[in-house]
Amino acid sequence: MRVDVTVNGERRVADDVWEGESLLFLLRERLGLPGSKNACEQGECGSCTVYLDGVPVCSCLVAAGQAHDREVRTVEGLADGERLDPVQEAFIEAGAVQCGFCTPGLVVAAHDLLARVPHPGDPEIREALAGNLCRCTGYEKILDAVRLAASKR
C-alpha cells in the first residue's frame, strides 16, 4: 500500500509498504531516517519514540498505515538546521550520552516534557522518562541533562 505522511514538516510518500509493518520500520528503512532506534519492538524501551500528531508514541507500536495523512516529528526534526535543540545540547553538555542508543527516544520524551512543563520537578522528570530505558548511564546524567535544559529556558 501507499503511505503518505508528513515527516519533520516534509510531505513523504512510500510505496509498497507492507500492511503489517510499523511506523518505525517505515521511518528507518523506507524514508532513510535512522535516528529513531529499534531495540525491543514491543514498547518496553522507548528508543523508537517519535511525535505523532504532537504526541510522543512508540513508533514500533504504530502501524505504518495509521500514520497516513498524519504528522510525524522524529529526533532528526528537533534541530533547527545546524543548531541543536536545547534538549540535545543539554544531553551533550551533561554527559548524558554514552553508547547513544537510547538517546533519540529520551531526547524526544524530554523535549515533550519541557514543552508541557517548563520547570518540572524530579518526580515529574522520572515519570516522563519512565518509558525509556538506558543500559549505560545509570540515569543520573540524563536527569542532569533535563534539569539543565529546563534551567536554560
Partner: protein
C-alpha cells in the same frame, strides 16, 4: 494483508460485517507486539483511529460515555474528577508513550486477565456498548469477560464505548508489580463505594482466568456498613472488618503460579491491597448519602 481505513463508525461496522476476520487496531499496543513478533498474521487490519465517534467522551445524564478509542492519557487528564477509579487505573498502565496510545477499548478487546481497566469497570457498574450492522448491544462488564483473553464480542461487532455512572463517592485502584512503570499486574484490586445503594463494589484482576467481582466481600462489607449505620455517619473502620474484607477478597481469587508470582503470594497480596484501598476510600468518604 489488507489495511482497512474507515473514516466513520458506519463505515467501520460495514467493513467488519464484510470482513469478520479483520483485526481491529486502535492504539496498537497489543496488536503491534503480536505482529512484530510474528505471533499473528491477520488477513486484514481495521484501523479505528480515524473514527471520531470512538475518540470522544460525553456526559449523558448521570453517566459518562467514554469512546472505546479514547487514550488513557486523556482519561487521566480529562476524566479524573468524574471517573476517579478509571483514571487511577489508567495512570498505572505502561509508560507515558503507552498511555498516549493505549485505549480502554483495546484493553477490553484483548481481555487479558491482567488488564488494568477491568477491575475498575467491574466495581463502577460499567456497561460495555458494542455495535454491528445488526444493531447495538449493552453488555454489563460483569458479563463481558468469558475466559482468558476471551470476551463476549461477536465476530462482526466492535466495542464502541464504555458507560459508567459518574462517581458520587470514593473509588480506589491498586496493583502489585516489581516497579512503578511498565508492569503487568501481579494482581490488582479496585473498590468503589455506592452510598446511594448502600453497597460496596470490589473486584480483583490478574488473579483468576478473568477479572471478577469479589461478591462475598462486597456483601459482607455492605451489610456491615448498613447494619452499623455508617453510610450516614461513618466512623473509622474496625480492623476486624478490614481484615475480614481482605480475607473474603483473597478467597474470591483463583490465581495460578507463574513467573510473576505464586498463587499463595497473589492471595496474600490481594488481602493487603483490599484492606489498604478500602482504608483510603473510607478515609475520603464524607458520609453524606448522595
Amino acid at each position: 494483508m489488507d489495511f482497512l481505513r474507515p473514516d466513520s463508525l458506519a463505515e467501520a461496522l460495514a467493513l467488519k460485517a464484510q470482513r469478520p476476520d479483520a483485526v481491529p487496531i486502535a492504539g496498537g499496543t497489543d496488536v503491534m507486539v503480536e505482529l512484530n513478533f510474528d505471533h499473528r498474521r491477520p488477513a486484514a487490519l481495521l484501523d479505528l483511529t480515524r473514527v471520531e465517534d470512538l475518540r470522544t467522551w460525553d456526559v449523558d445524564g448521570d453517566s459518562v460515555r467514554v469512546g472505546a478509542g479514547v487514550p488513557y492519557t486523556r482519561i487521566i487528564e480529562e476524566l479524573g474528577d468524574r471517573l476517579p477509579g478509571l483514571a487511577m487505573a489508567s495512570r498505572t498502565v505502561g509508560s507515558p508513550q503507552i498511555r498516549n496510545r493505549g485505549t480502554v477499548g483495546g484493553n477490553l478487546g484483548a481481555a487479558s486477565p491482567a488488564g488494568d481497566a477491568h477491575p475498575v469497570l467491574l466495581v463502577a457498574d460499567a456497561v460495555v456498548e458494542v455495535a454491528s450492522t445488526r444493531g447495538t448491544r449493552r453488555i454489563a462488564a460483569t458479563d463481558f469477560y468469558l475466559g482468558v483473553k476471551h470476551n463476549a464480542l461477536e465476530p462482526d461487532e466492535l466495542i464502541t464505548s464504555v458507560r459508567l455512572p459518574a462517581a458520587r463517592a470514593p473509588q480506589q485502584f491498586a496493583k502489585v508489580g516489581t516497579r512503578n512503570a511498565m508492569v503487568i499486574a501481579v494482581c490488582s484490586f479496585a473498590v468503589a463505594l455506592h452510598p446511594e445503594q448502600r453497597r460496596v463494589g470490589a473486584a480483583v484482576g490478574s488473579a483468576a482466568p478473568t477479572p471478577l467481582r469479589a461478591s462475598a466481600a462486597e456483601e459482607f462489607l455492605s451489610g456491615e456498613l448498613t447494619a452499623t449505620g455508617q453510610w450516614e455517619s461513618p466512623r473509622p473502620l474496625l480492623d476486624s472488618v478490614k481484615r475480614r474484607f481482605g480475607e473474603l477478597v483473597a478467597e474470591a481469587a483463583s490465581p495460578i503460579d507463574d513467573v510473576r508470582g505464586s498463587a499463595a503470594y497473589r492471595k496474600h497480596a490481594l488481602s493487603v491491597l483490599a484492606r489498604r484501598t478500602l482504608g483510603w476510600a473510607w478515609q475520603d468518604y464524607p458520609g453524606k448519602v448522595a
